[in-house]
Amino acid sequence: MAEPRPVLEMTGVVKEFPGVRALAGVDFRLFPGEIHALIGENGAGKSTLIKVLTGVYPLDGGTVALDGEPAEFTSPLQAQQAGISTVYQEVNLCPNLSVAENIFIGREPTRAGRIQWKRMRKEAAELVDRLGLDIDVAAPLSSYPLAVQQLVAIVRSVGTGDRDAPGSGTKVLVLDEPTSSLDRDEVLELFRLMRQLSRDGVAILFVSHFLDQIYEICDRMTVLRNGALVGEHLVRDLDQVGLIELMIGKALDQLEELHEHQLHSGVGELLVKAEGLGRTGKIAPFDLDIKKGEVLGLAGLLGSGRTELARLLFGADQPDSGTVTIGGKQVSMSAPNDAIGAGVAFCSENRKTEGLVPDLTVRENIILALQAARGWTRPLPVAQRDELVAKYIKALDIRPANPEARVGQLSGGNQQKVLLARWLITQPQLLILDEPTRGIDIGAKTEIQKLVVSLSEDGMSVLYIAAELEEVLRLSHTIGVLRDRKLVARLANGPEITAGTILETIASGAHQ
């Protein structure tokens, strides 16, 4: 079969940042109507390739051709006009504008230069509907959780081009980790949409660290390692084991090892007791015990109240009913400081807006919480500080392993690791992890999960939130199931508990 002409062809692409060669002569091609995965570890250069393609960064070498014509874009606007629409890795929208505006801004329906608000809202509602989302498009974007914002970004990207036939002006759709904070249902809806677009001839570039997703949706894949091209393969020609070996450059045998670890450690005496804790509109009053060394996993669908529950336990939102006792002492929970003082740490899912300070270095970001806990008048001794930072950079495999690098320049996954290190270093009694493995590659994911297991063996309690049920199942002693902003069940983990059991519990909203 003669191969059709690629809609997009990049050859010998080079991109250098001061001290880092992010892309070292990468070739990449994309055919009309295919779904093409771009795969690689954290920091391999995936996002950089996308940003070079779409004119966010200038090329340092190599060529880009669109439809056979040389193309070099100097701004995302140009790329968009040429038919490449992109969802970048971090949600990049304007939180102060409404959902509808975020979808349409730059190409609002107008008559004689006047924006037709009614028509815009109606069309936005229809587009949002196509993704199976039912949200109020007139509400400001900031009133929705991260996952919904991510979906809105996707809707925006598919909606570019001709308004009357969404996606029709788009030749290439680029999705950089669009599924990192989505649940199964949203992922399925997204896949449905992707298939539909690809049938219409749109070429889709898809980045994800979930290999199962790649095998489910993609036709072809390009693997990057350390900024270099490793290979391009048809998905059906390469199995997952082979792919992982290509990604990390060595054979991998310890990925499954984790299963044996699970649940070895026992749990100690009661640490945290929440009674009737709740906040109207966020989460219904709930009772919760967490024992020393216990990993309590929270399972539930998007918007079921997982994050809200965690925020109450950290004092990030003030409860309007109930009490919390930690280690026998009642804690007021009126501000995060109260919780931190009682030994609670909270690693937020929203690293961009609530976590990292992009202009500070890796070292400064890591010690931020520890230093805050000590008080600013008692700086950490330099030697001890550097040793701690080095230890966690190594433990979490943060790349580049340079404590002086600015966090804003790290790849998405490595930023997530820095945030994690910040809270681990404080040695809390209760560690709340909200989607800690979001955007993290599978090698590092296993490392982080191992770390959680060993922390719990050392007696740290962990509240673990993850969209992936398998992850929750693998790590937790106990699983709290949420539905419709209510804690509906607590299941003691054991061999008889499976993803199926949990889904059933969620569906039936079962008995306590």
Binding site: L77, N96, E101, D185, E186
Partner: protein, 341 residues
């Protein structure tokens, strides 16, 4: 269970959180607060000075006559602040325009129909240049417009060190003209200011450019990645501000009927104060031009209340403005803190 039948509950739950929190999160709240403050102050004035004619509709209309130029300048500042920037050159530009036009009319004998577009063009071009430098060289707007502040004030003195009073007949008639409104009358300046207000409202809410101003102020990096022509928007915003300053300068000249190198010193701060009191966030991305109207009216009302009081020194205007500014910034602070949660 599909995504569709699950989602609505989520949203409704989120939105149904107590009415008070919702109100506190509403972006229109600051405007309402300022409007309420204005009404309360006006009501207070009515009671206290009822016997001194405070209730005359003309007293209310005078707020527009006496503050028309400030309103126009503050509208320009609203665009800039909404986009996340700041313009410190407003006062100097106003001063410069009064000098420039007075000089052209009096010393060069040019007709007003020629002078007005020329002055507006110079203002817009000055703003454009500042915007261009801010965008293309990525320099802090604070610095660039501070340079503009010195530059235009300096240019005033280059034209003349003395004030130039205007005896031109056409300026005189224009300044004296009053348009009857049934209950009272408005000056040409006040009408122009109201027209600018209407135009600004339309531009900000019904044109793509206006929405881009909000987007850039909300998150510049995102706006860029969303494919919005960021540079153009930023330059345009300073151009608008320069144009508004020049127009404010013309209105000021009509109001005062002279050009003076020391006119309108520090007026940029009044404009910024009016914008902030009107509820626009200094960090950009949130606010309404209608709020700016109320901000200007509140400042104007303070002045006239103090005049009615008679015994108070006019410095009390500054003190009251300072107190209000603090109060409003505190309100905004608590609101943004609330919105994040």
């Amino acid at each position: 269970m599909t995504a569709t039948d699950r989602k609505p509950e989520v949203v409704e739950n989120g939105a149904a959180s107590s009415r008070a929190t919702r109100l506190l999160g509403d972006r229109r709240l600051p405007v309402l607060v300022t409007a309420a403050l204005f009404l309360a102050m006006y009501g207070g004035g009515l009671r206290r000075y009822a016997n001194y004619g405070f209730g005359e509709p003309q007293v209310f209309l005078n707020l527009f006559i006496d503050n028309g130029y400030l309103l126009v300048a503050a509208i320009g500042a609203t665009f800039v602040i909404m986009s996340g920037g700041i313009d410190l050159s407003v006062g100097s530009m106003i001063g410069f325009t009064t000098m420039f036009t007075a000089w052209l009319v009096e010393r060069q004998g040019l007709p007003l129909v020629l002078v007005v577009p020329l002055a507006l063009g110079v203002g817009a071009f000055g703003g454009f240049l500042m915007g261009y430098v801010i965008h293309n060289f990525e320099i802090q707007p604070f610095i660039v417009t501070l340079a503009g502040l010195f530059l235009f004030r300096g240019l005033c003195l280059v034209i003349s060190k003395e004030s130039i009073s205007i005896g031109d007949a056409s300026v005189g008639t224009l300044a004296q003209t009053r348009v009857p409104l049934g209950v009272g009358e408005l000056s040409i300046g006040a009408l122009v200011a109201l027209a600018v207000l209407g135009a600004a409202y339309y531009v900000l809410h019904y044109t793509r450019f206006g929405r881009r101003v909000y987007a850039v102020g909300g998150n510049e990096q995102s706006a860029l990645l969303m494919g919005l022509p960021m540079g153009g928007t930023k330059i345009a915003v300073y151009t608008v501000s320069g144009f508004c300053s020049a127009l404010a300068g013309l209105l000021f000249m009509l109001y005062i009927q002279s050009g003076d190198p020391l006119h309108a010193i520090g007026m940029e701060l009044d404009a910024i104060a009016a914008v902030v009191i009107g509820g626009t966030l200094l960090t950009g991305g949130s606010g309404y031009v209608l709020g700016t109207l109320f901000g200007v009216l509140v400042l104007g009302l303070i002045k006239s209340l103090i005049t009615f009081e008679g015994t108070l020194s006019s410095w009390w205007t500054k003190i009251a403005t300072g107190v209000l500014l603090c109060a409003f910034i505190l309100i905004q602070r608590t609101m943004t803190a609330r919105r994040k949660t």
